[in-house]
């Protein structure tokens, strides 16, 4: 447990010291969302209608942008060998890294979303569910992304390959995330959709952690 927390703290500390990708991800999210009013035109009804989808799809792309580097620097400086030899099972090492990564990217994305929703003219009835859905969905995105990052570790043009591998797997979270917000906007129950998002997260935790650990062992050989 001490080792787990030390690892989370290490990643947060490293990210804050190095002025990490986390800030870039947030700026990307902000700019990408704000491009839509320019692209679609200043028609409030249309923007409000597509706002949920825009916020989710850009959040998904922002999450993808950040996850690529998750294991790269560990691999390059030899830390990955040392992490594999820690008295902590490798899936828990992965969990610690994903958790730190989510605290730096997923959580700020979630908290930023309602402010961007204002810019898109989304009805404020939807804000609580938007935040809740992102809070449940972005950890799943981070977990799936970690698996992709581990599989493409050491590959040339890993970034493009990662997107091809991971984007299809993001679709379920996207569908139910958008559906939850739309349901609350139209006055329907959003709980079933949120429950499915939570179920996706619960399934992703064991599956992605063990698969990521296995992929990292391959990368070590």
């Amino acid at each position: 447990m001490i080792a787990f927390l030390a690892l989370v703290r290490r990643d947060l500390q490293l990210a804050l010291r190095q002025g990490s990708d986390a800030a870039l991800v947030l700026i990307f999210y902000l700019l990408a969302v704000l491009l839509f009013p320019f692209g679609v035109g200043p028609e409030p009804n249309l923007l409000a209608r597509i706002s949920t989808g825009v916020l989710w799809v850009t959040a998904l792309l922002a999450a993808l942008l950040a996850i690529e580097r998750l294991f790269v620097s560990e691999h390059e400086d030899g830390s990955l060998d040392q992490l594999a030899l820690l008295p902590l099972p490798l899936p828990l090492v992965v969990l610690a890294k994903v958790l730190a990564h989510w605290l730096l990217t997923g959580l700020p994305l979630t908290l930023l979303a309602p402010f961007l929703a204002i810019a898109l003219g989304m009805d404020q009835v939807g804000y609580p569910v938007l935040v809740l859905a992102l809070a449940l969905g972005t950890p799943t995105l981070s977990l799936i992304g970690a698996l992709g990052a581990a599989l493409t570790l050491g590959a040339r043009r890993g970034g493009a390959l990662l997107a091809l591998l991971v984007l299809p797997l993001y679709i379920p979270a996207l569908i139910f995330g958008v559906a939850a917000v739309d349901a609350s906007l139209t006055g329907l129950a959003s709980l079933p959709h949120l429950a499915i998002l939570a179920a996706l997260l619960l399934a992703a935790v064991p599956l992605c952690l063990w698969a990521t650990a296995a992929a990292l062992r391959q990368a070590l050989e």
């Binding site: 001490i2 390059e76 030899g78 060998d81 030899l85 902590l88």
Partner: protein, 212 residues
């Protein structure tokens, strides 16, 4: 008496069989020096010993117990130092070592100070590791061995980038470790300042063309 041994080990990298039929034994207080030309499998053997690489044949034992049975126990009793130093450039020397201790569940400030002074790192303790030279970074990597002790040291060319004074400190460190019953396996091209049994890996390179 602690004994780390391997029997009939073979290792494959891609399509190539790097070594085959390799056996070794290291007892408490002993050092094993791996020698051989580039590509003869010194690093691969060390990674096999560390459990990072799975040999295609053979078995390793620790006190007659197969290592493969309990990987976690094996990782807990070894420290591996590879080609790369695994030192985080954004953290200071002291933070790097303290973090290493936390990750291994050790909290021993005295060991931390001993590690710093054993490698002559005291004046650099508060410096971010990105400002260090290659030799200084290597010293930090070696200091980790002392900060969180373990009986088996697996060192891949540990004296690379070290100056003569650094090699002397390293030799003393290894001597102390062996004196207290530790085991050391190290690969080296030059003179690491450590005496011990030599394992020539060239003897286990399979004959070209003939693969059994």
């Amino acid at each position: 008496m602690t004994l780390f041994a391997g029997h009939g080990l073979a290792c494959r990298r891609g399509e190539r069989l790097v070594f085959t039929g390799l056996s070794f034994r290291v007892a408490a207080g002993e050092a094993l020096l791996l020698r051989g030309p580039n590509g003869s499998g010194k690093s691969s053997l060390l990674r096999c010993m560390a459990g990072l690489l799975v040999p295609v044949a053979g078995a390793q034992t620790w006190d007659e117990q197969p290592v493969a049975l309990d990987r976690d126990a094996h990782s807990a009793r070894l420290r591996y130092l590879g080609h790369q130093d695994a030192v985080k450039p954004a953290l200071t020397v002291l933070e790097n070592l303290a973090l290493w201790q936390q990750l291994h569940g050790v909290s021993d400030a005295a060991a931390l100070r001993r590690a710093l002074s054993a490698l002559g790192l005291d004046p650099l303790a508060e410096l971010p590791a990105r400002l260090l030279s290659a030799g200084q970074r290597r010293r930090v990597a070696l200091a980790r061995l002392l900060a969180a002790p373990a009986p088996l040291w697996l060192l891949d060319e540990p004296t690379t980038a070290l100056d003569d004074e650094g090699v002397g400190r390293f030799a003393r460190m290894v001597g102390d470790h062996r004196g207290s019953g530790g085991l050391v396996v190290l690969s080296s091209h030059g003179d690491p300042g450590v005496a011990g049994e030599v394992l020539a890996l060239a003897d286990f390179t399979p004959a070209p063309g003939g693969e059994s």
